[in-house]
């Protein structure tokens, strides 16, 4: 037996194994890379179920033909690790046809610069001008994402909890708002529900960003990006200190560092907290009776208030396209089935998302769709936006974004001073 295993045979066998292994290694890319992909893949995030739900509906109705040619396949990813997953997939040339755009806009721009992400301008005939302009301001004049959301952000409140505790006028200034927090805290009601666990700390850093914009005007964060101001400048530190003071007073609840996004939202929707800072993407949850136990009529929207002596106004609305989706250029070009799918999404997504999830998007919609009163109110607010501002990390790198958001919880629990928080973020701005 042994005599049959000559070195030549062994070498040939080793060569064959190596060939198989190297073929397997090189062929690891998903089917999305071929010209006729088997499936239409979408990389969703766990924290946003609306996009997956809407795409699934489209696949069964409006885009059923496209779905037959290329069945929809949805994969999920935690939002906190989305950016690293996108980098890994892009590095391997394995991005799916459609994927949730990176948390850090700078990463999506980087992906576009190296030819990985499609400039969606050519396929965006059904995108509203307001959404298009918001996207372009975020991505240096390019339309790199499809606006599966068009949001404004602000402070949502529980009307009943406020009136039950003697707050009959909705606070319109920062001072009134803090006084309301104190009153609620005194009455044993958690004033604010906000997540601060790991990457969900953006809930707290949004307060910092908005305070800065109200105090110093809408260009304050752009100045930091341009290098004409620093986050460690006294006026910026004062803003972070104002939020740290809320944390020290316990207004963000027992332990924001232990609370994730879903828990924070649930705390508000079950009437255990009076206020929550949130984007209008949460309308689908507010309108969902199984989740919203306080009743949709009981939810009010408050623009982030003005700060005494500040130059920013409450009309300068934090607006964004929230969780948007990007298209893989490699997968789109040359694949007629994928192109048909994308066209169908652009044409129908707005109507289906509004009809089924009360989600306001940046796509045109069928005017016949009836929406709940709160959604109608927010639609009007969005329509009235004259000047929009970006969020705290809007101009940050991926590293600074992660560092800021993972330290947000500590600011919200009062364990980090404003100065220390700003120093930590500044050290990572690059």
């Amino acid at each position: 037996m042994a005599s049959h295993f000559k070195p030549k045979h062994l070498m040939a066998a080793a060569g064959a194994v190596a060939l198989v292994l190297s073929t397997a290694a090189c062929g690891g890319s998903s089917d999305s890379g071929s010209t006729t992909a088997k499936n239409f893949s979408f990389l969703a995030i766990n924290e946003n179920t609306t996009i997956a739900k809407t795409l699934t509906t489209l696949s069964q109705k409006e885009c059923a033909t496209q779905n037959t040619a290329q069945p929809l396949e949805i994969k999920n990813q935690a939002q906190a690790s989305l950016d690293q997953q996108l980098q890994l997939l892009a590095g391997q040339g394995a991005l799916p046809q459609l994927f949730t755009a990176a948390n850090a806009p700078s990463l999506t721009s980087q992906l576009a610069d190296n030819g990985t992400v499609l400039d969606a301008a050519a396929v965006s005939e059904s995108v509203l001008p307001a959404a298009s302009s918001t996207i372009k301001s975020l991505y240096d004049g390019k339309q790199l994402v499809l606006p599966t959301e068009l949001n404004i952000e602000g402070i949502w409140y529980n009307k009943k909890l406020l009136t039950d505790n003697g707050i009959t006028t909705v606070p319109s200034t920062w001072e009134d708002l803090v006084a309301a927090f104190a009153k609620l805290q005194g009455a044993g009601v958690q004033p604010i529900s906000q997540a601060g666990k790991g990457g969900d700390g953006w809930g707290v850093t949004r307060w910092v960003g908005n305070y800065i914009l109200r105090q110093q005007g809408p260009d304050a964060l752009k100045k930091v990006a341009d290098g004409s101001a620093k986050l460690t400048d006294p006026q910026y530190v004062a803003a972070a200190d104002a939020i740290a003071a809320l944390g020290k007073a316990g207004y963000f609840g027992k332990s924001p560092t232990s609370i994730d996004y879903a828990t924070a939202l649930n705390t508000f929707l079950t009437g255990k907290a009076a206020f929550i800072y949130m984007g209008s993407w949460a309308l689908s949850d507010f309108n969902d009776e199984t989740k919203n136990k306080i009743g949709v009529d009981n939810v009010g929207f408050l623009k982030f208030p003005t700060v005494a002596g500040g130059v920013g106004t409450a009309d300068q609305m934090p607006a964004n396209v929230g969780t948007a989706v990007a298209i893989s250029k490699k997968a789109y070009e040359g694949d007629a089935n994928t192109q048909a799918w994308v066209k169908c999404i652009v044409d129908n997504y707005g109507t289906v998302a509004l009809r089924d999830s009360s989600q306001i998007t940046g796509f045109t919609t069928d005017s016949a769709v009836e929406v709940p009163a709160l959604t109608k109110e927010i639609q009007t607010e969005i329509g009235n936006v004259q000047s929009s501002v970006l969020w705290f990390e809007g101009y940050f790198s991926a590293k600074a974004t992660t560092v800021s958001q993972s330290n947000g919880g500590l600011l919200g629990s009062g364990q980090l001073t404003g100065e220390k928080f700003m120093q930590t973020v500044t050290a990572n701005l690059g």
């Binding site: 027992k254 560092t257 991926a398 500590l410």
Partner: protein, 294 residues
Amino acid sequence: MHSVLGDRKSVAILLGPALLVYSLIMLVPMLWSLGYTFFTGSVISGFTWAGTANFSKLFDDPALPDALWFTVKYAVVITVGQVLVGYLLALLYVYFLRRAGSVIRTLVFFPVVLPTVAVALLFQKFFEYAPQTGPVNAVIEAFGGTGVDWFSTPGHAFLVVALMDIWRSMGFYAVLLYAGLLDIPDEMMEAASMDGAGTWRQIRSIVLPLSLPVLVSSLVFSINGTLKAFDSIYALTGGGPGSATTPLTLYMYQTSFAYGDYGYGSTIALTLTMLCLLVTIFIFRGTRRDLAQG
């Protein structure tokens, strides 16, 4: 046998495939990573020559000393904890639990085979502070104390990480050391006992010296594992609060894959490699001295 191993062709055929696989999956990536230390960028943005900039950055980066200190602190505490508790358990098995030993050994060993992420989730729930009160805080409160927000302060978070990792691996070290203790002849213990040596004296003068080689091996195993710890910390605290429980491994991972800076990530990896090398040299020098004395 000698004729086979003396034949160069046979040696090449026997070693060749293993060496090839080892080189492909270990040495090549290591050398590749070493090369990255002189570049900046990522596979997305492309790479540009950075010279020694990444090495200079090591000295300017405020996060690096914190990660390095956490790595050393973690390695020392966990190694001491794992080996000490393992040794105490082994002594318990050999000298006090001879009959029920196998049952206890199995129970103590059980966490070793559990998936790390499952153990991390278990400890998250055990030490939960909000929105629900976990069992640990419930007990503290039942005795009139105030619940502790374990994962929001660096000290408390480190304590939970240490407890979890010691609990998770003490069974392994207990079995390892138990095997070593079994080699100690019963006659020697009986003779000492007849000479009037008490339990403590027997342990100090007989058990400890005779089990020293297996203890040193356990220390080498443990320190090697703890310096490279990643999964348990990532799953339990994610490196938080802030970056308070971020070891070099996690910082390297974040830098390379979340922040897209492969060059600096590789430089951090090199720092970790140097640290491991230093510890290995230190341990082996110490071991050699022990053997020479023995």
